[in-house]
Symmetry: C2
Subunit: 581 residues, 2 copies
């Protein structure tokens, strides 16, 4: 090794030792006759000290150096005169006996500091420099630890890590595939997997009964801020189990990971049905760090002349504890918030439960004190509280109130970093109807089994069929989801029919699955977690990009290597494809 | 869980317990009034017993069942009358109290036995059934364990598992890329990585100093029996190290893996230079389970009138201990062996050192007993030994004799399964010359550094330049290789020049690397192991395909899912490509 120690480990125990360190120059300072260098590596920062008078040649060498130069120094560990309590090595410094330049550095395009002066675009282009900054480095180390602990837990309970192929078959259902032209079979294409779904189910058919993989997946979708064309999934499947077994197994995984990586004992994971989640929070991924449950107000607000409420399918409110002091300005801002096009409410009704026991509302014209008292009672509001009310079509209104609830949670500081509320959302509908294409789509995916007791409804009222499908939600973010799968060939065929596949199409696309179901397919189910997402949620950040070493930008471009790029015509010729003008 | 136990764990300790098992029917036997079922799952086989007289309804149910049906049984663990010592559960059987069919099975297209009656093509098409067979299952479990132990070792010594992108930039150098058309950037393409080489080097630039990843890589090459278009690499890189540190670190990895997975303490890994390996074994990946080193015979065989030897650049032999008894027929077979077009020798000269101390040779016409004695002495042969000699151009003859040596090793039982000889081959040449394209190619890859002491030769005699490049060889198979990398921008530029890149091309293709080298790139190097290959070598098999759950066939086709396949025209339209007729 070129070094004897790292820049993060030396302390008073090492005083007097001769050590050799390698690293990057974080900072050079001159102080009287002394030159100090902060030397940085992955493990920390150590101060180097050079006496310019006794070691003039070193001081001269250093004069030519600058930020991010890579150097190697040998010296003696010495107790510092002025200690730095903020870093583990702050008690010591190295009195330099030899100093060598391993590599020079041009002046970096942005500062390599916790708070960089570089914009996101610049930092992505020079990602290899951005990766030197502590916040990014800590994220990648966090991800590494998460991976280790997830693997340990699953390995210890008998899950096998089995790799599935990346060059697979394109499926028109679901998101858009990335495809890969075949040279050997002109005119044919592989697809990159959106998930190993079919392969993990085939592994269950093969009897592997506990499978996992931390695996890259690909979706050619239009990107939002927090989406990437390639992302990593913790993909799991089990046989001879029921939904309860999966929920318990992966509750165990969460307990393990929180304990090992964050030293947090999480509470037993709450459960809520999809229907209740929509009714109480207007979301299938509610943030349970705070309550503020929805209160249906139809019965106490549809008896007067307020036409908007009377014509609404749903009148629904949330109670904001202790917010009766909200000013007109604040209430107007909330109204503006729900009126934003992304939310799209027509307006906001409020009821202030004033300290004196009277009520003030934006609809005082229609409702008297007695009416408002009933509203307050229903909402569980007391003097000093605020009730915020929306109305309209059920689903739309729930979604709007969901946004308002989250906004209020934020304003009231109820969505606290460092607090983690885990939630299983269960009993998802099997299907959803799409008006545009006039057909059913699978809510989870087309291999999800209906609840056995709902199977008969498939013929009579498919939209009413629920599935043993479940999502794991942490602090309002879906971090994973799965389902019990169909293991019966006839039921799978029926599902394909309901989704609009002809038998011919089903056989062409999924013949291998239908065939596999013929040869003794066990009951099975599974779950997949978004690894990037899980890391970000456990680190209290929104962006998955911060946990990916080399992410793409919002145009699916790697601006560092500049990919995608044009390729040589000879490559296209070999692949029997050409670019369409 | 649908079961209380697996089919591999019950023994006399469990007698009297009521258990529920799930699994596949391996076999049904009737014996007098009893029906026996061998029930199989991932963990083993357990015998179920049904008394047809007392439990007629069960016996009738079973009559309808067949091989590979999935059933669930509840019953009592009972000591067997006639024990089976070959399986861990052979002391007990389950007296069935309840039996349910979880799924039926059609008759499988081949037998699910250790020795199947199915041909390879059929087994690939129904891979999900082939995966049920013990030999394949054991391979995948072996691979899982290897993965766990490799990760544990590397994690424990501070390596970070960091994921690198799959959608990268195509590089014309090296093997052929798989490319992926971009929808967002029409006319542009991503490439799938042949290895994460550039990214892992950038991680070194970023200061991560110990990186690893077990990662899929892709090469669109014409497939040989043991190649796959997608394969898995154990990819590692370190900073602030020298070659010695890498060899030691990964010798440690091998010790760990052999101990943990095979309970074998391996010897310290021998080392040999590339030049010596070629000279002594005619191969850069010699099988050292046996000696039979090459002996150069130019000086003792080029003094007579044997024109073939006299005109040869190299006359070289191997000594086969105790093989003087080889019959004319056996010697002719060896001659035929080296004359096969794959090997291409013109002929084979032998010298039999007969038990009476005299010599017999195929070139007695040219060499007298004294000459042959000298040959024998040089070859270290004694009475009873056989010397086999080839001649011609040096490199070609070495390769031919290498094949003959391996064949003799096989014939003599010296290439023993269960014996593992690990070898570092070091000091590879940096470059190789290609007559066809009239240019140099990088022997390892273009980021490999010349040995510092050879750097000056780059200008005067590039072919003489050696690199700090190394391969790990086990039993004659290369399982990994790596090198110390260039970390200096000017040297990297010079390397690009030598490889025939114009500065413009170098900047266009590798501008990001050259740029990264400007900002403080540390000295670094690394290694990558073929994971599939490593698993196969440690299991004493030749085929990596046996260690891949869903491999492609020799036409790069997945015959199970039938990929690649045609895609919809709308997909091509979206990607701005079309198929060239």
């Amino acid at each position: 090794m070129l070094r004897t120690n790292t820049c993060g480990e030396l302390n008073l125990d090492h005083v007097g030792q001769t050590v050799t360190l390698c690293g990057w120059i974080q900072k050079i300072r001159k102080l009287g006759g002394m030159t100090f260098i902060d030397l940085r590596d992955r493990y920390g920062i150590t101060q180097l000290a050079i006496n310019s008078e006794t070691h003039e040649e070193f001081a001269k060498k250093v004069e030519k150096m600058g930020r991010e130069w890579v150097i190697k120094v040998t010296g003696t560990v010495t107790e510092r005169y002025s200690k730095n309590k903020n870093i583990p090595t702050g008690d010591i410094e190295i009195i330099v006996d030899a100093i060598d330049v391993l590599n020079e550095s041009a002046i970096p395009p942005f500062t390599i500091e916790d708070e960089s002066d570089g914009g996101e675009e610049l930092r992505l282009k020079y990602r290899y420099l951005d990766l030197r900054r502590n916040p990014v480095k800590n994220n990648l180390i966090f991800r590494h630890k998460m991976g280790i602990e997830i693997r340990n837990y699953l390995n210890n309970i008998g899950f096998l890590d089995i790799e599935t192929p990346f060059l697979i078959r394109s499926t028109p259902e679901g998101a858009r595939d990335f495809i890969v032209p075949s040279r050997v079979s002109p005119g044919e294409f592989y697809a990159l997997p959106q998930s190993p779904q079919t392969f993990k189910q085939l592994l269950m058919v093969s009897g592997y009964d506990r499978y996992f993989q931390i695996v890259r997946c690909f979706r050619d979708e239009d990107l939002r801020a927090d989406r990437q064309p390639e992302f990593t999934q913790i993909d799991c499947e089990m046989s001879f189990i029921e939904q309860e077994d999966i929920l318990n197994t992966f509750e165990g995984l969460m307990q393990h990971v929180f304990k090992k990586v964050k030293n947090i004992d999480i509470d037993p994971i709450q459960r809520i049905t999809y229907a209740d989640a929509m009714r109480l929070y207007g979301s299938d991924k509610p943030d349970l760090r705070f309550g503020m449950e929805f209160v249906e107000l139809n019965d106490v607000m549809q008896h007067k002349d307020f036409k908007i409420f009377n014509e609404a399918e749903l009148v629904v409110g949330v109670m904001a504890k202790g917010c009766a002091h909200y000013t007109r300005k604040q209430l107007d801002a909330l109204t503006d918030f729900v009126r934003r096009p992304q939310i799209g409410a027509a307006g906001l009704v409020y009821v202030l439960c004033q300290p004196d026991g009277t009520f003030k509302s934006s609809v005082d014209k229609f409702y008297d004190q007695e009416d408002l008292k009933k509203v307050a009672q229903k909402a569980g509001a007391e003097a000093g509280d605020l009730i915020l009310i929306l109305s309209g079509k059920t689903e739309k209104t729930q979604k709007q109130l969901c946004e308002l609830r989250l906004e209020m949670g934020k304003q009231l500081g109820l969505r606290q970093a460092g607090v983690y509320k885990l939630l299983w959302v269960v009993d998802f509908p099997l299907l959803e109807w799409d008006d545009e294409t006039n057909r059913f789509y699978a809510k989870h995916h087309m291999f999800t089994a209906p609840k056995p007791e709902h199977e008969a409804l498939l013929d009579t009222n498919p939209i009413a069929v629920n599935a043993n499908a479940y999502d794991l939600v942490i602090n309002g973010t879906e971090v994973g989801g799965g389902s019990i799968r169909i293991h019966n060939r006839n039921l799978q065929n029926k599902m394909f029919q309901i989704l609009g596949f002809s038998q011919e199409q089903a056989d062409y696309q999924f013949g291998f699955m239908l065939s596999a179901f013929q040869y003794g397919c066990p009951p099975h189910g599974g779950i997949a977690f978004g690894f990037d997402r899980l890391c970000s949620v456990l680190s209290d950040t929104d962006s998955i990009r911060d946990f990916i070493a080399f992410p793409k930008n919002n145009s699916a471009r790697d601006t560092m290597v500049n990919a995608p790029a044009a390729v040589e015509n000879s490559q296209l010729d070999e692949l029997s494809i050409q670019i369409k003008k």
